[in-house]
């Protein structure tokens, strides 16, 4: 996953497609990411950042899931998609 964009680097309001997940020996996390529907090709958007900057909230298959940066780093991304106007990013 080196030199590749990971979920942890996704900015609020950005969307991208998942290229793969590196469980890195942490089977439990691999399964948990699978349980929430993260597989190759899944579209994810970052919809929120906590006050400390970590964890962040992601919109995944209709649900909002918070992941810590350490875990989000395991999710590889490609092709950051143009932010959908006002769909996820909320400039209040």
């Amino acid at each position: 996953m080196n030199n590749q964009l990971s979920l942890a680097a996704l900015k609020k309001g950005q969307s991208a497609l998942v290229t793969g997940i590196s469980a890195d020996g942490d089977e439990a996390m691999g399964r948990r990411l699978l349980d929430i529907g993260l597989i190759r090709g899944t579209r994810v958007s970052c919809v929120g950042v906590s006050p400390a900057g970590d964890p962040c909230a992601y919109f995944i298959r209709g649900a909002v899931i918070a992941l810590r940066a350490a875990d989000a780093r395991r999710v590889g991304l490609e092709r950051v998609l143009a932010p959908v106007p006002d769909a996820c990013a909320v400039p209040v």
Partner: protein, 634 residues
């Protein structure tokens, strides 16, 4: 350690108890937070506590209902994202479904998030063909412009599909009818329909295809309001201020709302005490009998009820409203970073919030944390948030010594702010002790976790109020009352039975006194905490009772008189601070200790959970008292 805390659910297999042999067993499965408990309650008339956060149901519940003369036994399985049997809850759900004990499985799905829910449906279909899909929260989906084509969904899945809004009891009859049918094997496809999607990733893709064929989004922007609220509740600029503001508001409402009913209750109950006294005199009962029953048992009971009931009756519904609304997972999101630094689980915020109500409930709630190490940390530190039994003591002391007893919004606001400061201290201690445990006896790195931030829901006001009053308030009050009367009797006896001219109470308190003074307390206060082991609610009443029986007799039925009584017995602001500190930081009550013993299955960890907060409290009191004395402030 792993086996101590880790085996809690795996050893506790679910077994359906059929009331009559013809009863059909229906399992309710589903993702966390899809309203499974609400469906269960609507069908069975039982009252499983529900809340808008994932993981509310941590063990199975069973109930019965009837359809057309057919009895159905409903088993509410814990909410799981999958049936891969990797967490104790998943294992329990999977084993139950595989055991063949259930005649049918109803998979409850969230209509607003159907795609992910369908993965669980597909996994369930792998285990049994008798599946019914209940698409719940249809009303929420409607509001968001999401429509689900139920017949199409049923055709694609090959099983019956029923749409419900369990909160409003819509679709329940049809659900029951279909349950009875599916339990007889009617209307379902033979097994193996989705044999081609054996791989988890294939199931996700299949669910995606089915969902895109059956779900229509009228408004692509349907999460907009939720995201705006999330910004308010969790952003860097507003997340923490809004959290503190909400907490203070809850306390302000609790304190200001409780004043008047507390005074009324107290007047009424002490009027009854006078009548009882008159009755005893009229029957020419011996003075010791009147003393033991009326001045002992009854008076402590009356104090506990009048001091505790009003704040609880306001706090519990307010808190339940926030819970129902979906705010608690946002607290977990905001506080997660601190738990991460303490190498603990972010879900500990949720168990901490439950501890506000009752620490025993908070300890049971720790089952939502998967990692045994992190679960133990959460269990051992749960007592650092004051439960509802301790709130009245804190509120009373703050009002008496710091906020003034007069009325007026400013004083109440001051009291609410101070109470919030006490809570913040408790949360701070939770972080520090969690970190300390992570670095010493529970070494390890934080495990990964995913926290769902569910959609906000409009709280069901009527339901929240009745449920929180009946289930929580009366339950907690009942427990306190059960302990208060015997404790009142005991303390009266101790105060009035003399050995060598000195009452037993005076002997005990003077024995404890030197040590208690070191902590900024006195012997009476320390003994009240010891006698309050069965229930924290009775600590303040015991203190008052003891002073009344030793010293001058003031009728202490309002806060002004209480202040006089306490200051006459040597209380200063420092005594009040140390008593509040010790109330926040001391051993868990007996119920909580028993619960910790049951959850950890370990005497060692139960002892640790007793010793850690006690040492913390003694240290805090000692340091505070010494510092104040050195500085000559008290």
């Amino acid at each position: 350690m792993g086996s101590a805390a880790g085996g809690h659910a795996s050893g506790r297999g679910a077994v359906a108890e059929r009331q009559c042999p013809n009863s059909k067993v229906i399992a309710l499965a589903g993702n966390p937070n899809v309203g499974k408990s609400t469906v269960f309650n609507a069908l069975t008339g039982l009252h499983q506590h529900t809340g808008n956060w994932p993981g509310k149901t941590v063990s199975t519940a069973q109930g019965r209902c009837q359809y057309d003369g057919q009895e159905l036994t409903l088993v509410d399985l814990p909410g799981t994202y999958s049936l891969s049997a990797h967490s104790p809850e998943e294992e329990l759900a999977r084993n139950f479904l595989r055991s063949g004990e259930a005649d049918a499985v109803t998979v409850v799905c969230d209509a607003t998030c159907l795609e992910r829910n369908l993965c669980l449906v597909l996994q369930t279909l792998e285990l049994t063909p008798n599946v019914l899909v209940c698409v719940n929260l249809m009303d929420e989906a409607g509001k968001k412009g999401i429509s689900v084509d139920l017949p199409e969904l049923s055709r694609l899945l090959g099983v019956p599909v029923v749409g419900t809004s369990a909160g409003r009891r819509e679709g329940m009859d049809e659900l029951l009818r279909q349950m009875a049918r599916v339990a007889d094997g009617q209307g379902v496809s033979p097994p193996g329909r989705f044999a081609h999607a054996a791989d988890p990733a294939d199931k996700i893709r299949l669910a995606e295809r089915i969902a895109s064929a059956a779900v229509r989004y009228g408004c692509p922007d349907y999460t907009r309001l939720d995201r705006r609220l999330d910004y308010l509740f969790t952003s860097r600029a507003t997340g923490i201020p809004v959290m503190l503001l909400l907490l203070t508001a809850v306390f302000w409402l609790t304190i200001s709302g409780a004043n008047v009913p507390s005074a009324l209750l107290s007047d009424a109950l002490f009027w009854v005490q006078d009548r009882l006294t008159a009755l005893f005199a009229c029957l020419s009962a011996p003075p010791w009998l009147h003393g033991a029953l009326v001045l002992g048992a009854y008076r402590v009971l009356a104090w506990v009820v009048s001091v505790m009931l009003p704040p609880m009756a306001i706090f519990f519904p307010l808190f339940t409203l926030l819970e129902d609304f979906g705010y608690l997972p946002r607290v977990a999101f905001v506080l997660d970073h601190a738990f991460q630094k303490a190498r603990a689980c972010g879900k500990q915020s949720l168990t901490m919030c439950m501890g506000f109500g009752c620490n025993a409930a908070g300890v049971v709630g720790c089952r939502i944390i998967d990692s045994p190490r992190e679960r133990l940390i959460a269990i051992l530190t749960n007592n650092f948030v004051p439960c509802n039994g301790r709130f009245p003591t804190l509120i009373a002391l703050i009002t008496i010594f710091f906020a003034g007893t007069g009325e007026g919004a400013a004083q109440t606001a001051k009291a609410a702010l101070m109470l919030m400061a006490v809570i913040v201290l408790g949360v701070f201690m939770t972080f520090q002790v969690s970190r300390l445990l992570s670095a010493t006896i529970l070494k390890g790195m934080p495990s990964s976790f995913a926290l769902e931030l569910p959609p906000y829901r409009r709280p069901r006001l009527g339901q929240v109020i009745t449920r929180s009053l009946l289930d929580r308030t009366l339950f907690v009050l009942g427990r306190a009352v059960l302990v208060a009367a015997p404790a009142g009797l005991l303390i009266w006896l101790c105060a009035n039975v003399t050995v060598g001219g000195v009452s037993i109470l005076a002997r005990c308190t003077s024995f404890l006194d030197p040590f208690a003074r070191l902590l900024g307390l006195d012997g009476v206060i320390l003994m009240a905490f010891i006698l309050g082991f069965p229930a924290n609610e009775i600590v303040l009443p015991i203190i008052l009772m003891a002073y009344l029986s030793i010293g001058t007799l003031v009728p202490a039925d309002d806060l002004g008189a209480l202040r006089t009584l306490l200051t006459q017995n040597g209380w200063t602001w420092l005594t009040a601070v140390c008593t509040m500190l010790f109330s926040l930081l001391h051993w868990p009550c007996s119920t909580t200790c028993l619960t910790i013993g049951r959850e950890t299955r370990s005497v060692k960890w139960t002892l640790v959970s007793f010793v850690v907060p006690t040492l913390a409290g003694m240290a805090a009191c000692f340091l505070t008292a010494s510092a104040a004395r050195l500085l000559g402030a008290a």
